[in-house]
Amino acid sequence: MATMRTPIESGVPDNKQYLHPLMARNYGNWKYHDRPRPGVLHHVAHSGDQIWTVRAGTQRQMDLFTIRKLCDIADTYADGHVRFTIRSNIEYMVSDPTRVEPLIEALTTNGFPVGGTGNSVSAIAHTQGWLHCDIPGTDASGAVKALMDELHEEFIKEEMPNRVHLSTSCCEINCGGQADIAIIVQHTKPPKINHDLVANMCERPTVVARCPVAAIRPAMVNGKPSLEIDESKCMCCGACYPPCPPMQINDPENSKLAIWVGGKNSNARGKPTFMKMVASGLPNNAPRWPEVSAMVKKILTTYKADARSWERMADWIDRIGWPAFFEKCDLPFTKYLIDDWRGSRASLNASTHIRF
């Protein structure tokens, strides 16, 4: 056991000490950029200085060997400076254009695909899953690895109508985030309560308060204080599990995967949009989740073929309409896709705007 030591409450480190010197010199003074090829950005400053960025995919959860290898590449080809993107891509900046090709070669031969820029499918933002989370219905790193193997060509090329962001979340709480296409695990059965443990482990009012649909209430079971669930109200979100682990939500058979589309955080063209659920009931089929990959690829190829340039997934669907989206992607529109939660009227069609 280490000795007691008062922490240095330093907070956010100053990034100036880590910036590439050319970036530090032109801080806040950039003029424009272009993309000489997929995976490479070229920025020009008002001073005339130029910098090339090479972007590569990583597995996010990296072992020391991988990180040291990435550092070796940075030391050899990129003056020892790197940064990471929000989607766990690594970026190398160089001021000498002749070093771009050797850097790409070094990354590629070491297994790091170069891409993720412009109109590509970038790396998938994801959660922890079975590796570290306490309420995961599935794994995240594995599902992402399986899917990115399938989408590798779309990562290294820029052939989509606009950029495509994907995310994976291993439960409906959806830590993975909003995306053009999101894969989210859904629990489909109410939690199973171990009544012997509830009184000892759970603060019952906290659990009752956390239920979004007021399906949980206090009850005496076998003479002990416990909780009961109105199963007809429960929509299986799993929010009761973290404050009360005896309410087991995970279930190997009944955890299914759902697909959501059309989320966009950028304000470009239209206002930001939330993603919408378009499919459910896909099996939690580790280690490669082939049914999920097939459906994501089907949606992506339909979007690629049908959308116009600069249309994000949301812009495309907005133009063609939801009925056409379901038809073109060969997805059944079931009653479960009509919202019945708070504010649902805003999602209903109050017009005669219908395409035939």
């Binding site: 995919g57 996010r60 570290h132 470009a268």
Partner: protein, 426 residues
């Protein structure tokens, strides 16, 4: 080490294919570590049984109440070496910039005290040092702390923040994101390290409305760069763009995609002049004319014609509050609470910190347990929140005025008088 590796037929299947494999990384670590050997065993067990086996608990470092995510195995009898597998959340530098020297030092520390597994980065923006025993957490933190890094947030606390690459490399940056990120977050370290809020509170900083940090959907307080004056133009780059892309793309991809129809294609001789008009020739005959009074700063045309069109120079931020993920009332988008705050002087940055301070104070006093800022605003109404933190109302805060008549307007005349007085004083 001599420990026999568990059979991992399912995980092995994740080693093939072109994308980098985390399983290959885990295996390399497991070769020399019983700890990671058993971690692999448990993960394979999860794959086989399709269930997770981690539970929480309480683990921390001396002086702090949060920042470590404790994980204890529920199948420790099968995989005893990895029965404790805690994560240290460490705050990255703004924009996630590093040099290899500091990354190598992090690796050395985590080789000594932890599993050797590091995620760059988690969904909240932390560097996640994944996998340490309870006994090793303090030692790992001490060394990372002395390297210049600090724990991030977990639980009901101010959380680790994120900012985009920003001014360091992006021409679309509208303020010093890194400075705002550091100045705001470092004001609230006590609220980060000693969790005592109703629930989490997240700040995120994006340099422009492209919002690369996804602040609008994920941050309780989203700080997004913007500008008030005219779009800047550069004729040489505009002509270069037009030579390459031509009239069809100019019309279909730039002019007709403007959401407020603020751009027109005109013959150069017909271009209007005016304080809010900017224009640029794309050829000897044609020009783009932009009505900046009607531009909503969506970024689209600037994204398409980088350099030919650019953000203005009167820069600042729009602040939106209440974005959050699903729990508990569904996803909420942030709402505009400050349409424009200039970001030029020291005082401007202090004003930003003050808005954060008032918001956190109000949140701490008024939110219910496990309620996010957006849910609190929905429950009490935006007006109560704005009055609580002392912000003036503005029509830019709504998509439309109210559509339901159920309101008491006793104070209408007083409000009109206040607004008129404010206008007269301005």
């Amino acid at each position: 080490m001599s420990k026999k590796q568990h059979d991992t037929p399912m995980l092995d299947q994740l080693e093939s294919g072109p994308w980098p494999s985390f399983v290959t990384g885990l295996k390399r670590l497991a070769k020399d570590s019983e700890y990671m050997t058993d971690l692999m065993g448990q993960l394979e067990h999860s794959y086989k049984t399709r269930k997770g086996y981690w539970k929480g608990g309480t683990v921390g470092v001396f002086g702090y109440g949060g920042g470590v995510i404790p994980r204890f195995s529920e199948v420790a009898e099968m995989f005893p070496a990895s029965k404790e597998f805690h994560t240290l959340r460490i705050q990255p530098p703004a924009g996630m910039h590093y040099n290899t020297d500091v990354l190598r030092k992090m690796c050395d520390i985590w080789e000594k005290h932890g599993s050797g597994l590091i995620a760059f980065h988690g969904q909240s923006g932390d560097i996640m040092f994944q996998g340490a025993s309870t006994a090793n957490v303090q030692g790992a933190f001490d060394e990372l702390n002395e390297l210049g890094f600090d724990l991030g947030g977990a639980g009901p606390a101010v959380r680790t923040s994120m900012s985009c690459v920003g001014a360091a490399r992006c021409e679309q940056s509208c303020y010093d994101e890194a400075r705002a990120h550091r100045q705001v977050l470092n004001t609230f370290l006590d609220d980060m390290h000693r969790p005592a809020l109703p629930y989490k509170f997240k700040f995120k900083f994006s340099g422009c409305p492209n919002d690369c940090m996804n602040s609008i959907q994920r941050a309780d307080m989203a700080v997004i760069g913007t500008w008030r004056d005219n779009i800047r133009t550069d004729e040489a780059l505009a002509r270069k763009w037009f030579d390459k892309h031509g009239m069809t793309e100019l019309v279909n991809d730039v002019v007709s995609r403007c959401p407020t129809k603020a751009i027109m294609l005109k013959e150069s001789k017909d271009v209007c002049r005016g304080a809010k008009i900017s224009s640029v020739a794309v050829s000897d005959t044609n020009s783009l004319e932009i009505d900046n009074g009607n531009c909503v700063r969506c970024m689209h045309c600037i994204n398409v014609m980088t350099g030919a069109l650019g953000t203005g120079v009167d820069k600042g931020v729009t602040i939106l509050m209440g974005g959050k993920r699903t729990l508990k009332i569904g996803d909420l988008m942030g709402t505009v609470v400050v349409p424009f705050l200039p970001m030029k002087t020291d005082e401007d940055y202090e004003a930003l910190v003050e808005i954060g301070q008032k918001s956190i104070d109000f949140f701490a006093e008024n939110a219910l347990e496990h309620e996010r800022t957006g849910e609190m605003i929905e429950r009490i109404g935006l007006i109560n929140f704005l009055e609580g933190i002392g912000l003036e109302i503005d029509p830019s805060m709504v998509s439309t005025p109210r559509t339901n008549p159920y309101v008491r307007t006793d104070g209408w005349d007083d409000e009109v008088a206040k607004i008129n007085a404010r206008k007269a004083a301005a």
